[in-house]
């Protein structure tokens, strides 16, 4: 309502003015009725005249009658005025009512018009909004579709790249696996060969050892001058390093007997036994590179 008023200030102003005019007319119409003089309270100067009682009475009666007639007339006139006023009032009320109704109708029509205009504006705005929304939606849909299409394209490109990469990777992995398997096989073969060689070598070494240990042992024992009178139960472990040819290059006491003379006799024994008898096959030398001698006469 207030919005409607604000939206149509002129119409409202007219309406208010009309109301004021009608109200003014209504108020001042009362004064249009004729004015009755002598209000009852006012004292009219009396002209005195002596009249006998009867005369007087008669006079009085006459006066009264007069009065009564005048009053009746007045009364009638008043009634008529009243009726006339009433009619007037009725007419005016009717008129006012009609004016009001007309004003009201006009206001209502105006309101309706305005409402209709507003509705129309609103509808138009709505329509416009809808159109715009639709346009936006369309635009959005289009851009989305485009994006989607692009994404799809990208996805496809990526998938293709991935697939390609995967294929490449797989190919490489397979190649690597193949290479690895081949290498593994080579390694196994080499290992097997090495193992066989080692076993053969070991067998050869074992046989050389079993053949040569007694010679070495004998030579050392022949060169060991046991110190007489040394305590029973002495033993000494000595580590001997050899060079090819059997020469002793170092002799180190690993576990002393506790008797320096005993230890020295042991050291002298291995040094005197140098060169120790070794297999002529030089490839076996590694087995004789380092020999521990446990001198233990208590055994």
């Amino acid at each position: 309502m207030w919005q409607a008023v604000r939206e149509n200030p002129r119409a409202v102003a007219y309406a208010v003015l009309m109301h004021l005019v009608l109200l003014t007319l209504l108020v001042f119409s009362l004064d249009w009725t004729p004015k009755i003089s002598h209000p009852p309270g006012i004292k009219v100067p009396i002209e005195a005249e002596l009249v006998d009682q009867r005369q007087l009475q008669a006079l009085e009666e006459k006066k009264l009658a007069e009065q009564r007639r005048r009053d009746e007339a007045e009364k009638q006139r008043l009634a008529e005025a009243e009726a006339k006023a009433e009619a007037e009032r009725k007419r005016e009320a009717e008129q006012k009512h009609k004016a009001e109704a007309a004003a009201r109708a006009k206001v209502e029509a105006e309101q309706k018009r305005k409402a209709e205009a507003a509705a129309k504006v609103k509808a138009e705005a709505e329509q416009k909004r809808k159109a715009e929304a639709a346009a936006r939606a369309e635009q959005k849909r289009e851009s989305e579709a485009k994006a989607k299409a692009e994404a799809e394209q990208k996805r496809k490109a990526e998938a293709a790249a991935r697939a390609k990469a995967e294929a490449e990777r797989k190919r490489k992995a397979e190649a690597a696996a193949r290479a690895k398997a081949e290498a593994e096989q080579h390694r196994r073969e080499a290992e097997l060969q090495a193992q066989i060689a080692a076993e053969q070598e070991e067998a050869r070494a074992r046989s050389a050892l079993s053949e040569y240990i007694p010679y070495i042992q004998d030579k050392v024992q022949r060169n060991w001058l046991r110190p007489p009178g040394s305590a029973a139960g002495l033993s000494c472990l000595i580590k001997v390093r050899l060079i090819p040819g059997g020469d002793v290059v170092s002799a180190t006491v690993v576990r002393s007997s506790g008797d320096p003379l005993f230890d020295r006799s042991v050291e002298t024994a291995v040094l005197k036994a140098s060169p120790l008898p070794l297999p002529t096959d030089a490839t076996l030398f590694n087995h004789f590179r380092e020999i521990n001698f446990n001198f233990d006469p208590g055994r």
Binding site: E267, K272, P297
Partner: protein, 428 residues
């Protein structure tokens, strides 16, 4: 092939079973240590030093039985200074040790220098030099022998010690008895006493400063004690009958002797301060030749109480004697080894008298000599040798044997019969 070699090398490194080849040595050679003693260089008047020190040292070392000195003819070189030594040469002749030295005459003094080398290690084991007068050159040689012996055997050497013994000379009608003290090799004899009557049973005081002996100079056996440095002597016993076989206690305070003052030869202990006598044995047989155990707690003596001469042991404080010897028909003349574990004796069996050693721990008897008439064994103060008298032809001479019996040698070239040798204690 190189690759294979590498693999093998790796295997050898990886497999400790092969690299830690261990060989057991359970047997060795029982024998003397081969040593070369090169004649010492000489720098002085004349063509040679007054004493052949290397010969003295070689003889000492040989006599001990623990060493075998290379004969001079086998010496491959004659270095006299360390710089001249080629160890390889000495390894070739298989000697473990090498001794070189030189003697330099400086006025009345002699500078003696020696070095002992380990041939197989190629290093010096010992080296000393001494400044002495002419009369001490032999003593220095023995001292060098002691140093070598001690370095290489771990035992104290006993070459620089002395022996006391008695000699007889002259015709049976005109015999001369002499008590002598000589170096351990029999050289350098010094007369202590000469008598026309028998001299017997010399015995060293524990400090080596005195000798106790039996002298018949007064037509009867008497026991004397004589100070070696001054010659002063003291008559200790002159009881009726036998006064014999004096033996010093290890603490030097008393003397165990054989006396027959109570009728039968018995063992007595005499206090050297008070001359108080304590009788130790009570038997119907002859008890004689007492010797103290090194710990002073017991005395071993010879007794025929069992029918033949055998060794018995009795506590020094007195008590029951225990028989020690059961092999052979004669075991007498005991001497304790310095460690108290062995007893040397004259062992008579099968008609011969030989030197034998009884191991007190095991009870085993070992005969060390093969003479016909060996007598008076006496241990060297380091226990490695035994000196004794032995019949040679129709006379008696000094001989020494190593306790393992491996090495025997006649000691003295002195004329006359040599009897009752006793080895001195270690010198001060």
């Amino acid at each position: 092939m190189r690759k294979l070699g590498l693999i093998l090398l790796l295997l050898a490194v990886v497999r400790p079973a092969w690299s830690a080849l261990t060989i057991e040595i359970t047997q060795g050679v029982e024998g003397a240590i081969p040593i070369a003693v090169v004649p010492f260089g000489w720098s002085g008047a004349g063509t040679a030093a007054p004493e052949n020190i290397s010969a003295i040292v070689s003889a000492d070392l040989n006599r001990s039985g623990r060493f075998e000195a290379l004969p001079d003819s086998d010496l491959v070189a004659h270095p006299t200074e360390a710089g001249q030594v080629q160890f390889q040469n000495w390894r070739m002749v298989n000697v473990d040790n090498l001794v070189i030295g030189k003697i330099v005459e400086t006025g009345q003094q002699y500078s003696v220098q020696f070095q002992l080398f380990d041939v197989f290690r190629g290093n010096q084991v010992a080296g000393y030099s001494f400044n002495v007068g002419r009369q001490d050159l032999r003593r220095v040689a023995h001292h060098i022998s002691d140093l070598i012996y001690e370095k290489l055997t771990g035992e104290r050497g006993a070459f620089n010690t002395q022996i006391a013994y008695v000699t007889t000379s002259g015709s049976p009608a005109n015999k001369t008895y002499t008590l002598l003290v000589a170096d351990s090799d029999g050289y350098n004899p010094q007369t202590i006493l000469t008598s026309k009557e028998p001299l017997m049973s010399p015995g060293w005081s524990p400090d080596g400063s005195q000798l106790a002996y039996v002298s018949f100079e007064n037509k009867a056996a008497q026991i004397y004690i004589q100070q070696l440095s001054t010659g002063t002597r003291r008559k200790l016993t002159s009881f009726k009958g036998i006064n014999g076989a004096p033996s010093w206690s290890p603490d030097g305070r008393s003397l165990a002797v054989t006396l027959s003052r109570d009728g039968n030869p018995e063992i007595y202990i005499m206090d050297l301060k008070s001359n108080a006598l304590r009788r130790l044995t009570q038997s119907a047989g002859i008890d004689t030749e007492p010797v103290w155990a090194p710990d002073g707690k017991s005395i071993v003596f010879t007794s025929d109480r069992g029918g033949s001469a055998q060794l018995y042991r009795v506590p020094a404080s007195g008590g029951q004697a225990q028989r020690l010897t059961f092999e052979g028909n004669y075991n007498a003349g005991a001497d304790f080894s310095p460690d108290g574990r062995k007893i040397a004796m004259v062992h008579g069996a099968g008609g011969g008298y030989r030197i034998a050693v009884l191991d007190l721990g095991s009870g085993n008897l070992r005969v060390l000599t093969d003479g016909r008439l060996d007598e008076s064994p006496s241990f060297s103060p380091n226990g490695s040798m035994i000196i004794y008298a032995t019949g040679e032809g129709n006379r008696e001479v000094l001989a020494a044997v190593s306790v393992d019996g491996r090495f025997r040698q006649r000691l003295s070239l002195q004329a006359g019969n040599v009897r009752e040798p006793v080895w001195s204690p270690f010198g001060k």
